[in-house]
């Protein structure tokens, strides 16, 4: 049985399609913003913090509590990630140059803290790992 097409129905369908498409594009764009780079902080192998890095982001600063009063303060900007302050004995992490590209990391051995930049879906890093 053929139903006569109503202009109203068509409008509703079209509207639905457009809405779904816009929604999906939005979700997709959020996932890939700024190349999809993130900074991940791990304490003793467990991820304790992560934050996306994208152009125009507000600078972020946070404190990693490594237990027994041990801490590292990490500062994150689009231009680079660094350990701003820490009370570890060797201060190697604080003296490290800031990191910016996927695959780079700063390690604080005494506090067992790793600050790492990871690539998102869109971005393949230059190298898979570094022999250091």
């Amino acid at each position: 049985m053929k139903m006569p097409m109503k202009i109203g129905d068509l409008a509703v369908y079209l509207f639905a399609v457009v809405l779904i498409a816009i929604g999906l594009m939005g979700v997709y764009a959020m996932g890939t913003q700024g190349g999809g780079k993130s900074v991940v902080v791990e304490l003793d192998g467990r991820e304790v913090y992560s934050c996306r890095i994208y152009k125009g982001m507000a600078p972020v600063e946070f404190r990693v509590d490594a237990g027994n009063g041990k801490y590292n303060v990490v500062s994150v900007t689009y231009e680079g990630v660094k350990v701003k302050e820490a009370n570890c004995p060797d201060q190697v992490c604080v003296k490290s140059a800031s990191i910016r590209y996927a695959g780079q990391a700063i390690v604080c051995l005494p506090h067992r803290v790793v600050v790492r930049i990871t690539a998102g879906h869109e971005e393949t890093p230059d190298v898979d790992d570094i022999a250091s």
Partner: protein, 352 residues
Amino acid sequence: MRRYRRICALTVAIFLLGAVLHGCTGTAGFREYRKDIFALNTWVNIRIYAGKNGPDILDKAIKRIEEIENRMSVTIQDSDVSRINSNAGKQAVKVHDDTFAVIKKALEYAQISNGAFDITIYPIVKLWGITSEHPRVPADTEIQDKLKLVDYRNVVLDEEKKTVYLKEAGMGIDLGAIAKGYAADEVVRILKEEGVAHALINMGGNVIAMGGKPDGQPWKIGVQDPRSEGAQRHIAIIEVTDGSVVSSGDYERYMVDVYKKTGKRYHHIFDPSTGYPANSGLMATTVVASNSIDADALSTTVFIMGAEKGLEMVEGLEGVDAMAITFDKKIYASKGLKEKLVVTDKEYELQP
């Protein structure tokens, strides 16, 4: 109704497209599992591609690393190595098979390198305490005194009884320049047994590639910039399928305070012929080999021997490649590596 169906189909299509774009590919439920631990006095990272039992496989590998650490660490009181050291000049000590194998390998490298690689360096390591909380530059008389105890020919192995004996009282061994390589090879062995085909392991900078990447490409391993002041940054890339890349250098562990004041870098790799940090004109070396134990031991050896002698030795070994970076940022590489090495930092110059 037909139009309704069409919209449904379109919606499904958009979803599928989205899924594909998001990289939900992966072969038959295999995905990446990764784990970071602190062991062997360093940071260890293991990445494997496996099915649902990925976490169990990782746990198995980590257990083995911890077992090796408990046997070979010089800072663990009842380890094989500590017992060998505390019985120096007294008696032979029965050790685990793996400890015996590593010491045997270390003595082989001592012979090949004419003593440049020497695990009996421990009294010198302890004297300087570069990696301890209170490092210091000792007096030359102290160094000469301890240097008398450094001689790999005074390590006596008994293959039958699996014992190790240090002839002189006061002697000591340190497997720090080779145990990580052994542990990495053991991890690879376990992963293979568990059917893992693709993995990338990083043991405090020693990188071991198992297979290639899941997409069939070789792993791309960066060579650390020796003057990045602590950050991980590469100056060159080596592509590896099934093999290990290990770097050694004066940048890894050194007396930062003395360096800031005097510009002199007292680092952790000692020359067994002088008792001082090796000073062969190099900032760093990188060795590529199929087994990580070889790459680990040889990166230290080449660093102590220098570019010319070190690379000459490597050319004589099968399946091993090496490169050395001098203070003026020149890269010297073995024949096999020259073709493979891609230098990515313009400041560094690969020599023909």
